[in-house]
């Protein structure tokens, strides 16, 4: 009784799982150290931030939009959080975290209003805010750098502490993936995001509050970028105005590798998160295999191309299958 739509999605995600298994299998055989708990922990830590961002990006991409500004939001949130902690040690850490998430959400709201209400194409609007938010970040920082020594120990531990053997940032990412995945699959609001991306005009006629949904997708993406910023600050400890520069394309790469259609309407956050995991897994594997670290960018590029070609192939396959089964009873 599962539909064709769901099945194709599952095949796609299974593809990434298989790729991950192959990656770990092959690399593990060549160098067993790759499968050691420390190494796995490292990979999880590395993918956590991108995975968190990829979840937000998925929400936006599914609605046939894109959020290029995430890296700048991470930057401004990381710097803002670090600055408060350094200059006002009295502020409780949870308040700082909440503040960063809110700051991100506010940035997301700016994007959302530009795209959803003022009808600026998302690519243009978020390219604009990519520059604008970074500009604000620079102006705020004024060349200053906050170091780990300036921040409370308790905060830095958030970036590296283990809970039940799993690093906290990875746990946060996992929670985010499961929560957003559940909403997208089960709640009408989630389904409506897919509807909007699949056909914006039809969504209006179906009585969906398109503006509100698009704005909320951007706000959530911004909030998650804010959260990722705090995690960044806690994990790396050294924060200036250049944090996360250029990461937007990594995030989009993870989403695309994860099988989210760049023109909206299909894809899941699970796929996107797996995409993030695969990309950082490859990075680590290349290091372990002593392949020149410089080749890693090229491998990522080839992987993105492979992923979109696979998607195209699956789409053609599905079209062919559909032609044969117009009706329920036809085989």
């Amino acid at each position: 009784m599962t539909g064709l739509v769901d099945r194709v999605g599952r095949v796609r995600e299974l593809g990434i799982v298989v790729a991950l298994a192959a990656l770990f299998g092959v690399t593990g055989v060549v160098n067993p150290a790759f499968l050691s708990p420390a190494s796995i922990r490292d990979i999880l830590l590395n993918s956590a931030i991108i995975a968190t961002l990829a979840v937000g990006q998925t929400l936006v991409v599914v609605t046939r939009n894109v959020d290029l500004s995430v890296s700048s939001v991470v930057g401004i949130s990381a710097f803002g959080g670090a600055l408060i902690l350094a200059d006002h040690p009295g502020v409780p850490i949870p308040v700082v975290v909440a503040g960063c998430v809110l700051l991100g959400a506010a940035c997301g709201a700016v994007n959302g209003l530009l795209v959803g209400v003022a009808k600026v194409p998302a690519l243009v609007a978020t390219l604009g805010t990519l520059y604008a938010f970074r500009g604000v970040d620079y102006a705020w920082a004024g060349g200053r750098q906050v170091n780990a020594a300036d921040m409370p120990e308790g905060f830095l531990r958030l970036g590296s502490a283990d809970v039940l053997g799993v690093p906290l940032p990875a746990l946060v990412a996992l929670t985010v993936v499961l929560a957003v995945g559940w909403v997208l699959r089960n709640l009408p609001q989630g389904r409506e995001l897919y509807a909007i991306g699949s056909s914006p005009d039809a969504a209006v006629l179906a009585g969906i509050a398109v503006k509100r949904r698009v704005v909320s997708a951007f706000v959530v993406s911004g909030a998650l970028a804010g959260l990722a910023g705090v995690i960044w600050a806690a994990r790396f400890g050294t924060v200036d105005a250049t944090v996360a520069t250029g990461k937007e394309l990594d995030v989009i790469a993870a989403v695309v590798v994860g099988g989210v259609a760049i023109f909206g309407g299909s894809g899941t956050v699970y796929g996107a998160a797996l995409g993030a995991l695969l990309l950082s897994g490859i990075t680590s594997a290349l290091a372990v295999l002593r392949v020149d670290a410089l080749a890693q960018t090229a491998v990522n590029g080839a992987l993105i191309l492979a992923a979109i070609m696979l998607d195209r192939l699956l789409a053609l396959r599905m079209a062919r299958a559909l032609r044969k089964r117009r009706y329920r009873d036809a085989r």
């Binding site: 530009l114 243009v124 990519l130 604008a132 500009g135 102006a139 250029g246 090229a298």
Partner: protein, 313 residues
């Protein structure tokens, strides 16, 4: 030209900013500064010309800066291997064209979205550049060419004349030839253009090739101008190029845009950057200004339409 067009506004803004900077910023209005300003924007301007054509055709090429890096790496590698520079230069153009051709094939033959394809090749080409040249910098380039790249005719850099000539050519191509009209039409409605006998795929393919070859040309200018061939040359330029094109009033959805608008936008960004640096404002404020202008470029016409839609009472 109608006054209500965004392009006109960009030209006006350019004039206003230039006048304001000449009056208010010390050291702006002198020959060497203007020359520096123009020279500094050469690569962005070059790549913006072909990017305009690509975006008008409703596609996008985010791999241009990586293609530039790849060509720089090839140049550096071949130069250290002892090839004469006159052989290397055409090779760089060909490498750029081939990089563009791969984009074009993936988009036109496999029907993949160019946004996704060129994000992929953005990483791929930059990665190849690192593989080819590693993190070394090749600096012992022939002085004849490095000085040529920075030479001036009067206050105008030689490279600016090159940009100007290519801009005129691209402008004529887009606005006054059948090919340009076909590019506009297929950008606005690919299916209708195909039904009208326009060879949609072929044209798109060659636009990507042109975009790649132009990145190859820009790589030569970049390398000689800085007298340094590195794999990370031009990192991040793609967004600057796209920003300039969109600021120039080209619709991201294709089918609409003018070359003079894009040229004005490139100059506007260059003047603003230069003036801010001279005025000792942090260079980074430019980011903010670029972002605002970019958003305004779409927001302003949208708001205008919205005001006009108000019912006639």
């Amino acid at each position: 030209m109608r006054v209500d067009r965004w392009e006109t506004l960009v030209v006006a803004l350019l004039a206003a900013v230039t006048v304001a900077a000449s009056l208010g910023v010390d050291g702006f209005a002198n020959g060497s500064n203007v020359g520096f300003l123009l020279l500094d924007v050469t690569e962005i301007a070059l790549m913006a010309l072909t990017m305009t054509l690509v975006i008008v055709a409703a596609e996008i090429d985010l791999s241009v800066a990586s293609t530039l890096g790849l060509c720089c790496a090839v140049l550096g590698r071949l130069w250290t291997a002892g090839l004469p520079i006159e052989t290397i230069m055409p090779i760089c153009l060909v490498v750029g064209a081939l990089a563009g051709a791969l984009n074009g094939l993936l988009v036109t033959r496999l029907g993949l979205p160019s946004l996704a394809v060129t994000i992929g090749t953005f990483a791929l080409y930059r990665g190849l550049a690192y593989v080819i040249l590693g993190d070394q910098a090749v600096a012992d380039l022939p002085p004849a060419y490095t000085s040529l790249a920075t030479q001036s005719v009067g206050p105008i850099p030689l490279m600016t004349l090159l940009v100007a000539a290519l801009a005129v050519a691209a402008g004529i191509l887009l606005h006054a030839t059948g090919l340009g009209r076909a590019i506009t039409a297929l950008g606005a409605n690919e299916e209708a253009a195909y039904f009208a006998g326009i060879r949609v795929k072929r044209i798109k393919f060659w636009l990507f090739v042109a975009s790649g070859a132009m990145a190859g040309l820009a790589s030569l200018v970049f390398t000689f101008r800085y007298a340094s061939a590195r794999a990370d040359n031009g990192v991040g330029l793609e967004l600057a190029v796209v920003a300039a094109v969109l600021l120039g009033g080209v619709s991201i959805f294709g089918g609409r845009g003018t070359l003079p608008g894009v040229v004005a936008a490139v100059l506007l960004l260059a003047v603003v950057r230069n003036a801010l640096i001279l005025a000792d404002v942090a260079n980074e404020v430019l980011n903010f200004v670029t972002g605002l202008l970019l958003v305004a470029s779409v927001l302003a016409p949208n708001l205008k339409v919205r005001l006009e839609r108000k019912p006639v009472q």
